[in-house]
């Protein structure tokens, strides 16, 4: 295929579906008993400005296809960015060659035909934005200018970025399943630097959405980046102590994703999770509900089917504090003797049921402790649950923020942290596919100089 129809998603989708059909037919021809394939194509515009000037204009254009073939219980896979028919054939041949060397794996294979998504609702994910380089530049400049003009202590900038992308994704397998959909994603972000006698600090903010009209205003993003940066000036260290810790909402989302990793099939069948064999057990206090909404209209992670072609479905992972479901794809489900949960490729639009308290009420409930607004580095060991991260945030006394802190660590164990969750706030206020408020955790070890 020499020319792809980027501006017409229906034609592009048809082309990619034809490519998938050719891949699957070629796999059959080369002797595969079963096969699955996916293809995607995306185009985009990215503009970066810095200190009031354009820094880069990038025109992105990405293609990819991948195929997995099964010969009995042996498996091989291959991928390429080259969608021409000759390349497609070569890719299938490579996957088949690999499968002559891999070994019998009783769980290798497609999910049951009966589990394939039978209806593919339109999730309203495609809202292209025909914006010129000049208009995109104006938006990015408006965002950065709002940040730079916010306060005289804003002395420098890492700039503002604008991006708009449109893509089509198609998946098919030898059960006859073939599904695809176009989607768009737009957004901008700003990273700004403030300076005073205490030194330099940097922070950022962003917005992202399927539709342009759902984005935050450029000035609001810039101002929030400026406020976050200014609040960090004059940061101090804290002495080593054990105190309650309030994880602000966007940082709490990281804890939520630690949970999801720990209940994911790959970790469970490899016995590499601190939540092994916890299905049906209380992992959190009883006020906690964690669920996913994979078919949310315009959701940033929405999809009608997962990477195995299995229908996605809304479900609770945690209800009344009890673990209700693992996060399984076909392979892991087979290994665990269970059924796939339609989570091949991960969770989609994860949400925590918000509590009643706002940020102020949570700070008062904490009374004296640490508000964490940034985490650094790795340091979450999901085999043991041991947790030790670099952190920055604010020291809180009598429910009031006292001063910013940095160059400290917080440590504990995720299992204990989850069990000792005191409250979840209603202060969800960050963009992205995950919804949560702030999390107040009873006690952790803070280390500093």
């Amino acid at each position: 295929m020499s020319q792809l129809h980027q501006d017409d998603p229906q034609r592009l989708r048809t082309q990619l579906e034809d490519t998938i059909a050719a891949l699957l037919a070629e796999a059959r021809l080369q002797g595969a008993d079963a096969a699955e394939a996916s293809a995607s194509s995306s185009t985009g515009l990215e503009v970066a400005v810095r200190m009031g000037e354009v820094e880069t204009v990038e025109h992105t254009r990405d293609h990819g296809l991948g195929i997995t073939v099964f010969f009995g219980q042996r498996k091989g896979s291959a991928s390429t960015s080259d969608l021409r028919l000759e390349a497609v054939r070569e890719t299938v041949r490579q996957a088949c060659t690999i499968a002559t060397h891999t070994q019998e794996d009783r769980c290798a294979g497609l999910a049951d035909a009966a589990l394939m998504a039978s209806e593919l609702p339109d999730l309203d994910l495609y809202h292209p934005w025909s914006i010129s380089v000049e208009q995109a530049t104006e938006l990015a400049l408006a965002c950065e200018t709002a940040a730079r003009d916010y306060d005289p202590r804003i002395t420098n900038s890492e700039g503002a970025n604008f991006g708009t992308h449109r893509s089509v994704r198609v998946y098919g397998n030898s059960h006859g399943f073939l599904g695809g959909y176009p989607s768009t994603r737009h957004g901008f972000s700003c990273a700004i630097v403030a300076q005073d006698d205490s030194g330099m600090q940097r922070d950022y903010w962003w917005t992202t959405a399927r539709r342009a009209q759902d984005l935050a205003a450029p000035a609001a993003v810039g101002q929030r980046a400026a406020q976050r940066t200014l609040a960090r000036l004059n940061s101090r260290q804290l002495g080593t102590r054990k105190v309650p810790v309030l994880f602000c909402a966007e940082v709490a989302a990281g804890l939520l994703h630690n949970l999801i990793s720990a209940i994911s099939g790959g970790r469970l069948y490899r016995k590499s999770s601190f939540l092994l064999d916890h299905l049906g057990q209380a992992v959190f206090p009883d006020f906690v509900r964690i669920h996913e909404q994979p078919r949310l209209q315009r959701g940033l992670a929405s999809s009608p089917f997962d990477s195995d072609g299995v229908a996605t479905q809304a479900k609770d992972f945690v209800r009344e504090g009890v673990l209700q479901s693992y996060v399984l794809d076909q392979y892991a489900a087979c290994r665990l003797g269970m059924t796939t949960t339609g989570n091949a490729g991960g969770v989609r639009n994860l949400a925590v049921e918000l509590g009643a308290q706002d940020r102020g009420a949570l700070l008062r409930e904490m009374d004296t402790g640490l508000l964490v607004t940034e985490l650094m580095g790795q340091g979450a060991n999901l085999v043991t649950g041991d947790y030790s991260r670099g952190a920055a945030g604010f020291w809180v006394e009598r429910g009031e923020i006292q001063y910013p802190v940095e160059e400290i660590t917080i440590a504990g164990n995720l299992k204990t942290m989850f069990a000792n969750l005191v409250a979840i706030g209603n202060d969800y206020d960050f963009p992205g596919a995950t919804i949560t408020g702030s999390w107040l955790i009873e006690q952790m070890t803070v280390a500093g100089g």
């Binding site: 020499s2 810095r50 000037e53 354009v54 880069t56 204009v57 990038e58 025109h59 992105t60 254009r61 990405d62 293609h63 498996k75 896979s77 291959a78 991928s79 390429t80 960015s81 070569e90 890719t91 060659t97 690999i98 060397h101 891999t102 070994q103 019998e104 794996d105 380089v133 420098n156 890492e158 630097v193 330099m200 940097r202 960090r232 080593t240 102590r241 490899r270 016995k271 590499s272 650094m376 580095g377 340091g379 060991n381 085999v383 043991t384 041991d386 030790s388 991260r389 670099g390 940095e406 160059e407 400290i408 660590t409 917080i410 440590a411 164990n413 070890t445 280390a447 500093g448 100089g449």
Partner: protein, 480 residues
């Protein structure tokens, strides 16, 4: 064939029907008077990987990527477009799109001239067929068997093997044409050991710009398996790590991730041109203790972080960053060097043709001192001895950096005591190297597994250092 330009032509340009005449025309589009610099970056990359788990080789994958990135720079502005289609029409469109960054778009004239790299640090081979597929499977199984035989507590073993051949061809706005053929191999072993209800992990791997026989020499791959098991067993015995500010002794080799995070990123030219690094404007200042010399060296033969030429066609070099404690140099690509009035240090790197180059590290390490490592440990009344690490992260602007220990021990009265659980260490880049009070005579580089992420782009790198004593670093354990 030992001419990278000939290999790149045969693999990339000839199949696409591109000759010097077409390259001349593309450069003409990019060479209008308002363009200060421009380049075309052709890439053809092949990767094969294998994964063993549960004692069987379950997965194998093959990937081919090919494309061209076209960049045009006018002042501080960069226009960039790329294509995975290599025919002339697609390239011409990409060149026109990229050069739209400049207002004046009259075509200029350039003639192609080839440029040879000054060094050939690794063989120009394709590592994928360097070992028969059946022999790769056998190697993975041997490694698995060694890990399982090492101790009855070994419960899970995952072994992965990857081989990549990356062929690149860079055509600069001045007509310079250069190429590189880059092999890269890697083998990793991950082990879970179990004793009663407790499970702990250990991992070890290595790699090089070599063919796959590297892993067979001296039973190297089997050595990785034994080391992964050893780490997992040590962690089975580990108790709570201490919390607080204390003296830390870092082992040699991979703990050099300290340098990568604490000073390396902060000395990349882009941050310093923009004045957003905690090291900005500090050339000539004492930023480390006397005796501390840190270099970034892209010219070490066969190392994972090494390159014959960088991704802008500049020969790599050994750049001194800190000399005897004084900040003496930054790492530069062409754009930032030009804007700062200097020369490229051969540190312009990009993840692929679909990414813009920027200043990146190659192999970053500290030169050896004169202390016996035993003497360093013996000098510490109470502290932490950390010998293995996971990854790290840095905030360039505030200078704060973290790196997470995966194997560490208490030091009590100058001797190594009980193992402690992994913990994150946090410090301030411009301060931490001033607290280096002893430097070992045992400089070692890592085993060849490092990858560095910056602005969403990942590139292979190396780190290294001798054993170091640091008088005061915050250790993020739970034991107060």
């Amino acid at each position: 064939m030992n001419d990278p330009i000939a290999i790149a032509r045969e693999q990339i340009l000839d199949p696409a029907g591109l000759s010097e005449r077409e390259l001349d025309r593309l450069l003409g589009i990019l060479n209008s008077p308002a363009i200060d610099a421009a380049d075309l970056y052709f890439q053809h990359s092949r990767m094969q990987s294998w994964m063993l788990e549960d004692g069987i080789v379950k997965e194998g994958h093959f990937n081919i990527e090919m494309g061209v990135g076209v960049r045009a720079i006018s002042g501080e502005k960069t226009g960039f477009a790329y294509s995975d289609e290599l025919h002339f029409a697609a390239l011409e469109q990409a060149a026109r799109t990229a050069s739209a960054i400049a207002r004046d778009q009259r075509d200029g004239r350039t003639r192609i001239a080839r440029l040879n790299a000054p060094h050939q640090l690794y063989p120009l081979l394709d590592p994928i067929p360097s070992l028969a597929d059946a022999d790769k499977i056998q190697l993975l199984q041997q490694v698995d068997a060694v890990a399982r035989a090492a101790d009855p507590r070994v419960a899970e073993v995952i072994v992965s093997l990857a081989a990549v051949q990356d062929i690149i061809l860079v055509v600069g706005d001045d007509g310079r044409l250069s190429a590189d053929v880059r092999p890269l191999i890697r083998l990793n072993v991950n082990v879970i050991a179990q004793h009663q209800d407790r499970r702990e992990q250990g991992s070890m791997g290595g790699g090089a710009r070599r063919d796959l026989h590297y892993f067979l020499e001296d039973e190297r791959a089997q050595g990785f398996a034994r080391e992964a098991v050893r780490q997992a067993l040590v962690n089975l015995e580990a108790t709570a790590a201490p919390a607080g500010h204390m003296t830390v002794v870092l082992g040699n080799g991979w703990p050099g991730v300290l340098l990568h995070e604490a000073v390396g990123h902060g000395l990349e030219g882009d941050f310093n041109r923009k004045g957003t690094s905690a090291f900005s404007g500090r050339l000539g200042e004492q930023v480390a203790a006397p005796g501390v010399t840190v270099v970034d060296d892209g010219t070490l033969p066969q190392r994972r972080g090494s390159l014959n030429i960088d991704d802008e066609g500049e020969p790599t070099q050994c750049t001194t960053l800190i000399e005897n404690g004084v900040l003496v140099g930054y790492m530069q690509d062409r754009l930032n060097a030009r804007l700062m009035g200097g020369a490229s240090t051969g540190n312009g790197r990009r993840e692929s043709y679909a990414h813009l180059p920027m200043p990146r590290m190659t192999n970053t390490y500290m030169l050896a001192g004169d202390r016996d490592p035993q003497e360093i440990i013996a000098s510490v009344p109470k502290g932490l001895y950390a010998v293995n690490f996971g990854g790290g992260q840095v905030d360039i602007t505030s200078g704060k950096f973290t790196f997470s220990a995966s194997e560490a021990y208490l030091i009590e009265n100058g001797t190594i005591g009980r193992p402690v659980k992994g913990a994150t260490l946090i410090g301030n880049g411009p301060e931490v190297l001033r607290r280096v009070s002893m430097i070992g005579n045992d400089l070692a580089l890592d085993s060849g597994v490092g990858s560095c992420g910056k602005e969403g782009q990942s590139v292979p790198v190396g780190v290294g250092q001798p054993t170091l004593r640091i008088d005061g670093l915050t250790v993020g354990g739970t034991d107060t």
